[in-house]
Symmetry: C2
Subunit: 236 residues, 2 copies
């Protein structure tokens, strides 16, 4: 189920041309060559010509499969999410405590992204541009975003913390946003072993989990209502 969903996201991310098995193979070759070079030299330093050459295809052929250099990033998103899913699955099956689940899922994201730390800076570059189809908020990214959000829904509803029904719709989105914030921090984090990022997660995850648990507390009803009203208004 999760795997099927991930594949569909990949399709969207990778775009139309994927008819024949051979074509599929060529695209995969180009993509992995590209990521290889990105890891080795960084994004800016990797030219489309270099990618094509190492992959043993013509420049134009690379553009046949990927509309632009940036679209390689979109494909990377999708692949990265798949790896995240896989790394997160065991935790979700084993652990039932919300805080632990949340922490381990976020850790999984960071761990699986680590080989691309340098490259990810560029990734966020395109992410911040609202009109780019590569923005995580863009319609083009919505499949991957939806799946990523679904993962957080599972973090939430598979835990033994009672989630107040009012929050059920919005919380997964907010957790996804929380993870985006962590990643933004991680991108700027050059401490050894990404110490700072882990520190930040360790502390904030506790805060988040506690807040979710407390949200049912009668004392917090007005605050909860207010936050929910704001969220609703922001969408309209």
């Amino acid at each position: 189920m999760a795997a099927t969903a991930a594949e569909s996201a990949l399709d969207v991310a990778l775009g139309p041309p994927a008819k024949t098995p051979k074509g599929e193979q060529t695209r995969a070759l180009i993509l992995s060559t590209a990521l290889e070079l990105f890891r080795e030299r960084g994004y800016e330093e990797t030219t489309m010509r270099a990618i094509a050459q190492r992959a043993g295809v013509a420049l134009g052929n690379a553009y046949y499969y990927f509309r632009s250099k940036e679209h390689l990033i979109q494909a990377f998103y999708a692949r990265s999410h798949e790896e995240h899913l896989e790394a997160a699955r065991p935790v979700l099956e084993r652990e039932k405590d919300l805080k632990e689940r949340l922490r381990d899922v976020v850790y999984a994201k960071i761990r699986t992204s680590e080989p691309y730390h340098r490259f990810s800076g560029i990734l966020f570059k395109t992410a911040a541009d609202p009109h780019s189809p590569l923005s995580p908020f863009s319609p083009e990214s919505s499949p991957t975003r939806r799946e990523s959000t679904a993962l957080f829904a599972e973090v939430l509803f598979g835990s033994n913390t009672k989630v107040h029904p009012d929050l059920a719709d919005e919380l997964p989105n907010l957790l996804w946003l929380y993870q985006m914030g962590i990643i933004l921090f991680w991108i700027h984090d050059d401490s050894p072993g990404r110490r700072r990022t882990y520190l930040l997660v360790e502390h904030t995850v506790d805060l988040v989990a506690r807040t979710i648990g407390l949200a049912s507390n009668p004392l917090l009803v007005p605050l909860r209502k207010r936050v929910l009203a704001l969220l609703r208004d922001l969408k309209s």
Copy 2:
């Protein structure tokens, strides 16, 4: 005082060549022409050749004053901050309530940035890359950032809210970060009249101001200590 500081930031942003009055004038001409074109057509669609042509200078001359197209953005930062300062000054003199001060200063930022809303997307693109000298977190940007932070220090300490001394060092930074978050939202906000952004500010500013006021409350000592410890650790 504020003006002097702003000028020094401009100098850094604009770079070395600025000896003669004539040169100063030429640079200003190139910059305003560029911003004009950015506003009209957007960043990507504006070529350096077009900027040079409309400014009536040779292409090489544009590069004489601005190391790259992106460096025009750095200059834009500095200019934008100056306008923000100017727009914020009357508020800071008139109003003493923390919440009002904070809101109006953030509003001033949004209002003065409004003509560049489209362009600002690109701006954030480059901002998000941690290795770019244009990142607001980079050393190159630190003068403008420092001044921007100083503005929030004034918001804080010029108000009639008692700020707990433990927080004095960090709060201005956090408020600056808060404003960055608002701007990130604003960039993605295409609602008429930027309704959503104003809504978000309206609600969160209240939360922020309240939290600052409550931070002295004995009940919150443990939380305050914890947050401060985290912030300290994140820097080490």
